[in-house]
């Protein structure tokens, strides 16, 4: 599975939405499922999947699927 696919699967699973809804334009608070608590859950899941640390400065920037994809692409392959 590619990193992109893993990210889509992870976002869909964390937010509890179908993978088809995980488009680049999907962003925090634009869907009821992506609220403050699920945003933290998503960041924790992302840390685990990418084996990296996300501090809160970064957390408040990763508010769209596009931003998360870009962030994942910057990470060293695990």
């Amino acid at each position: 599975m590619s990193t992109d696919d893993r990210i889509v699967t992870l976002i869909a699973a964390t937010l509890g939405i179908p993978a088809e809804r995980v488009t680049d334009d999907l962003a925090f608070s634009e869907t009821a499922e992506w609220d403050s608590l699920n945003h933290v859950n998503l960041m924790v899941a992302l840390e685990k999947a990418l084996q990296t640390e996300i501090d809160e400065e970064r957390m408040i920037q990763l508010t769209s699927v596009r931003a998360i994809r870009d962030f994942a692409a910057e990470q060293p392959r695990s």
């Binding site: 403050s36 608590l37 945003h39 996300i54 957390m59 408040i60």
Partner: protein, 336 residues
């Protein structure tokens, strides 16, 4: 997650002060609530998110103790959960609460706002809907909810009808009851001996109640207590300064239902004489003794119903619910 969230004790007071002022908390309330040395406690008063050397997020805490026949547990009520520009700082509120749970071990939320209702139930180890219910005894026309709703719709149309009495002046209780301004020292003994059963309930000491209901700059209070050490019972009664609507919290031992009734009756008589339009109390939905005493004195349930959430680092915590609830809990006392 790595978070630079700090305990309130590590943050300069002026930064916390500036943050809370943004949310409309008056300076006198902030000083009393967070910086009054009369609130002696052993625990953090909250956790903050610092950004660019400013407090941008806070979850306030009020340390207290829960007790039951099983033991005692250090705990804290949550309050003042504010994140600046929350829409642009997603997740900070949840992160603050998660950090507070992790660091403190056990938190309890009673009531709360829309954000609380949306987020806290999903983070709670245990949730109890309608854990506490409000009860009111209208004493004058202004104490009737229907009248207040009408008067709010047509301000000034009802003149001074709000002061029209709804009840005759009450008789004297048939046991010895005393009243003192402020929080009277005999309350200490009552707080110490108040019944604690198998259910977990909040335990406050004299300093805590004095801080909350006497030292609070916007309240005025008095204490009613039974002058009988065999069955201690006492109530603290308070209002916003010069307000017409009063509140009450009371403590007793189970065998003291008669004394509890006497304390409540005296509280009612006293506030009535002071021109009160209503007297209200809060009780746990399962607190049958408290509810029975209040109903016997004529109190009836109002629309207030508060959920309770137990937030625990160990989600298998044996503390699933909290009984013995009242207006002395959390920061409900001054929020009229």
């Amino acid at each position: 997650m790595r978070a630079s969230i700090q305990p309130v004790s590590a943050v300069p007071a002026n930064l916390l002060f500036e943050h809370l002022r943004q949310y409309g908390l008056p300076a006198e309330i902030i000083n009393w609530k967070y910086f009054d040395p009369g609130f002696r406690h052993s625990g953090e008063r909250g956790w903050v998110w610092l950004k660019e050397d400013k407090v941008k997020g806070l979850i306030g805490l009020l340390p207290f103790t829960l007790a039951s026949t099983a033991g005692r547990a250090a705990c804290a009520w949550t309050c003042d959960w504010f994140v600046a520009d929350a829409a642009r700082n997603p997740g900070i509120g949840a992160l603050l609460l998660k950090e507070a749970i992790e660091q403190e071990g056990l938190l309890v939320t009673l009531g709360g706002n829309e954000a609380t209702a949306r987020m806290v139930p999903r983070m709670a180890a245990h949730a109890v809907d309608a854990a506490a219910v409000g009860l009111t005894l209208p004493l004058r026309l202004g104490g009737l909810q229907a009248y207040r709703a009408l008067a709010a719709r047509a301000p000034g149309a009802f003149g001074s009808l709000s002061k029209m009495p709804l009840r005759p002046r009450g008789g004297r209780p048939n046991v010895g009851v005393r009243t003192e301004a402020g929080i009277a020292p005999p309350l200490a003994e009552v707080l110490e001996s108040a019944t604690r059963g198998a259910a977990w309930s909040p335990v406050y000491d004299f300093d805590y109640v004095r801080w909350q209901l006497e030292r609070c700059p916007v309240l005025e209070s008095f204490t009613v207590y039974v002058d009988d050490r065999s069955a201690p019972a006492a109530a603290v009664v308070w209002r916003p300064k010069r307000g017409a609507h009063w509140r009450m919290a009371f403590w007793a031992i189970d065998t003291g239902a008669e004394h509890c009734g006497a304390v409540i009756d005296e509280a009612v008589n006293r506030v009535y004489a002071l021109g009160a339009e209503s007297l209200s109390a809060l009780a746990g939905r399962g607190d049958t003794v408290s509810l029975g005493c209040l109903r016997a004195a004529g109190f009836r349930e109002n629309a207030l119903s508060l959920p309770l959430y137990v937030l625990a680092r160990d989600r298998n915590t044996p503390i699933e619910r909290v009984s013995g609830l009242g207006y002395a809990d959390s920061d409900l006392g001054y929020r009229f």
